[in-house]
């Protein structure tokens, strides 16, 4: 009973507080709403000027003055579009500092410099020939409250105010902005200041002249924001300067003529997070089709710690004459570091020539999350003559899953890569590459994982399969210090493990000091010893294994150390090996590198082929590493005493 009385009284109190006496001054399509309690004396002069709460009116411009009991909130501007006209209501307390002009459904509102309070704009209604233009020097709130606005002559909404612009997509509303074609403006929805989006409504954008959205300063999507849907643009879906920060909401971008989201640096070195993209939550669904386009592009760092991101690019590569370089599509392109972690889920696809999943100009780091990358494009090549194609590498751009120009570091998370185009590597670092943990699964046409400098595997579960080249290919040293690795290269002349061991070319070698490893190829770079370091024994087996065949290695007591089943028959490799004894060609001839912490130097171990295994036993891509999988050993292929850096069994081939 008490609650009922309380609720009843509170309702009455609320209703009474909302009622208010308002003096309306109507001038054309603009009406000023003055709170009767605020206006005081309203003088008029002999020359026909009426002043209400500081706002002067030429009485010849006043259509009428009237009084209602409908309250209008202070600091508000309401714009409603109805077909070919718009009406503007300006709260009386700010009227003195506001100038509004309306021509049909084209509305322009200027805030004077004297404004020192946040003004709340509410836009609603529908028109096929209208616009909203605002300028001022203080922060504002802009609520899109069921607005459908098409401007055939310029931007649909153009906010020239350079301060914080809080853009609210009113809950439950759908708002659609469209501009015209052939103009010179930057975008359909333009904001000069910094945009902060909130509200669970939907915003549809189409940029028929330039970008769908253009922001001169940063753009933040708050947790509460709904959906921003770019249905098309001649330029980018969202072209942003300074930074892009997403904490929620969903952005869908398709049918754009350039990038999905592009973030550029400003010229002000003091601007924070300049050129950066940060995604903490929410969803991105981006498709680009243009040549060399990027789904998500930043001139500085990209940090993704949450959210669900799906990006697809289909465009082919191109030759940039001005920069004398090839350019290709990438789902994500960062001009600096790219770091992914947390609970982020990414699905990245590139299908055009030279297309990449992640292209990073500095260090790519995976600290968590789940990343799936698929590329299917062939190599992009500029020029038609063999001379042009082979003269310099800058005329070629290969598809890749992940590329890091100054490094790749995988600490945790899951990275799954598939590349099918010729020349497409799975992971490439043009400097060092480190895997310290996490799960890495690569099915690549070219090298599975390639590094220009040292490659180091400290931990993690790593599966690599190369169709036509090496499994792990380091152009310097390859350190295997830990982890669980199942690696396949292809047939001759390619290897499971490849390190540059040609002394004339900055030699590097394979060093095994830990981990559980099976690497299969036609040949291999053989492990070396490292002075002052305890090496882990390695067996190198050479023989014949085709798809479905199993190999096991047991200790002298007959206990199984590990076993594996070939998941493919090696295909002929993709290039001729420079020097070195060639291994067997494509087909069943293989060289298998085996190592485990369970293998003790000085002990004798026997390798068996034709083993039968319990396929449901614990395994990593058919590498059975807990010693429980073997049902029958099969045929002995030879025994040897374990030693470092390695001991051979059978007729292994490949490099030395």
């Amino acid at each position: 009973m008490k609650k009922l009385i309380l609720l009843s009284f509170l309702s009455m109190v609320t209703l009474m507080a909302m009622a208010g006496q308002t003096l309306w001054v109507a001038t054309g399509q603009v009406r000023y709403a003055f709170d009767a309690k605020q206006v005081g004396k309203m003088p008029h002069t002999s020359d026909g000027v009426l002043t209400v709460q500081g706002k002067s009116f030429d009485i010849n411009c006043i259509d009428s003055i009237y009084v209602t009991s409908v309250a209008v909130a202070d600091n508000t501007v309401d714009v409603n579009y109805t077909g070919s006209v718009a009406t503007v209501i300006i709260a009386g307390n700010i009227a003195r500092n506001m100038t509004a002009s309306v021509n049909g459904a084209h509305v322009a509102v200027m805030q004077g410099a004297e404004v020192e309070t946040e003004i709340f704009y509410n836009l609603s209604g529908s028109t096929t020939n209208g616009s909203f233009y605002q300028d001022g020097s203080y922060k504002i709130s802009l609520k899109l409250n069921g607005l459908t606005l098409t401007n055939p002559d310029s931007a649909a909404v153009n906010i020239r105010d350079g301060k914080r612009i809080a853009i609210e997509l009113a809950d439950g509303t759908v708002n659609t902005l469209t501009d015209g074609t052939g103009g010179g403006w930057k975008g359909c929805f333009m904001v000069k200041g910094h945009s902060e989006f909130k509200g669970a409504g939907t915003l549809n954008l189409k940029g028929n002249t330039g970008h769908a959205f253009w922001g001169k300063e940063y753009v933040e999507l708050k947790k509460t924001v709904g959906t921003i849907n770019v249905s098309g643009a001649v330029g980018d879906g969202m072209n942003i300067n300074q930074y892009f920060l997403q904490k929620g909401g969903k952005v869908i971008i398709a049918n754009v003529g350039d990038d999905g989201i592009q973030v550029s640096k400003t010229d002000d070195a003091d601007d924070e997070d300049n050129g950066m993209v940060t995604i903490a939550a929410g969803a991105l669904d981006i498709t680009t089709t243009a040549t060399a386009s990027k789904g998500l592009k930043a001139e500085s760092d990209i940090n993704i710690t949450g959210g669900n991101i799906t990006i697809k690019t289909t465009g082919n590569g191109m030759w940039n004459t001005e920069k004398s370089e090839t350019q290709a599509c990438a789902a994500i392109k960062g001009d600096a570091n790219i770091t992914i972690g947390g609970d982020a889920v990414l699905s990245l696809t590139s299908t055009g020539s030279g297309g990449k999943g992640i292209s990073c100009d500095s260090v790519f780091t995976l600290n968590g999350g789940n990343v799936t990358v698929s590329t299917s494009g062939a190599q992009y090549t500029y020029g038609t003559s063999i001379w042009q194609q082979n003269t310099t590498s800058n005329k070629r751009s290969s598809a890749k899953g992940v590329k890091g120009d100054t490094g790749v570091v995988i600490n945790d998370g899951t990275l799954k890569i598939t590349t099918t185009g010729s020349g497409a590597e799975g992971i490439e670092s043009k400097n060092t590459l480190d895997i310290n943990g996490g799960t890495v699964e690569v099915d690549a046409y070219d090298d599975g994982i390639n590094s220009t400098r040292d490659m180091t595997i400290n931990g993690g579960n790593v599966y690599v399969n190369s169709t036509a080249n090496d499994g792990l290919d380091s152009n310097h040293n390859l350190f295997i210090k830990g982890g669980l690795l199942m690696v396949y290269g292809s047939g001759a002349p390619e290897c499971g493990l490849d390190a540059i061991d040609d002394e004339s070319r900055d030699p590097g070698y394979v060093y095994v000091t830990g981990g559980t490893l099976v690497a299969v190829g036609s040949g291999t770079s053989y492990p070396h010893s490292l002075s002052g370091t305890t090496m882990q024994p390695v067996y190198v087996y050479g023989g014949s294994l085709s798809q479905g065949a199993s190999l096991a290695i047991n200790d002298s007591n007959g206990s199984n150390v590990l076993a594996f089943t070939m998941t493919k028959t090696l295909q002929q490799g993709g290039r001729m090996a420079p020097g070195g004894p060639g291994g067997p060609g494509g087909g069943s001839g293989v060289t298998v590198v085996i190592s485990s912490p369970k293998i003790v130097s000085g002990q004798t171990y026997t390798i068996y082929t034709g083993s039968t295994l319990n396929a449901s036993a614990t395994n990593w891509h058919s590498l059975y590493h807990d010693g429980t999988a073997v049902k029958t050993n099969g045929t002995s292929a030879g025994s040897a005493t374990a030693k470092t850096p390695y001991v051979s069994v059978g007729n292994s081939g490949g490099r030395m």
């Binding site: 009474m16 507080a17 208010g20 006496q21 003096l23 309203m42 003088p43 008029h44 006043i62 009084v67």
Partner: protein, 142 residues
């Protein structure tokens, strides 16, 4: 329970006071003198040199040079006329207004018939001072 009701009544009264609308929109000649219109039903348009005020179904033309300002108020303006000295409220000051005041002073009429417009000067009675004031307006314009 009693406390609940007491608190809510006080809150209700406070809000009610704040939300109370003004009764009149006044066109003021000078302090306390002018024309009052029902604020709940008033509208104004400008035609030539007049403000055309419509309220409660009636339309009144107020010369723009006859008033100084508008304001909301709960006080009915004393003279009831936008024109000082216009005792009968016909929109002008003339000998008819003088004759009315003379009749009031002689006891042949009462100020109650003129909505306060007979109180030309700032006192509570109608006397020779008011008659002289109206004659002055006729002769000098103020």
């Amino acid at each position: 329970m009693k406390k609940y009701i007491a608190i809510l009544i006080v809150a209700l009264c406070t809000i009610a006071v704040q939300a109370q609308d003004y009764k009149y929109l006044n066109f003021v000649v000078n302090e306390g003198v002018g024309r009052s219109f029902d604020a709940s039903a008033v509208s104004v348009v400008y035609r030539g040199n007049d403000a055309i005020v419509t309220a409660s179904g009636e339309t009144t033309a107020i010369p723009l040079d006859s008033y100084s300002y508008m304001e909301f108020s709960n006080t009915l303006l004393g003279s009831g006329s936008a024109i000082r000295g216009d005792v009968n409220g016909d929109g002008r000051v003339d000998i008819v207004d003088v004759n009315i005041l003379i009749n009031i002073v002689l006891g042949n009429d009462t100020p109650d018939n003129y909505d306060g417009r007979a109180l030309v000067t700032d006192d509570d009675k109608v006397d020779i001072v008011d008659i002289n004031a109206v004659i002055n307006i006729l002769l000098t314009g103020h």
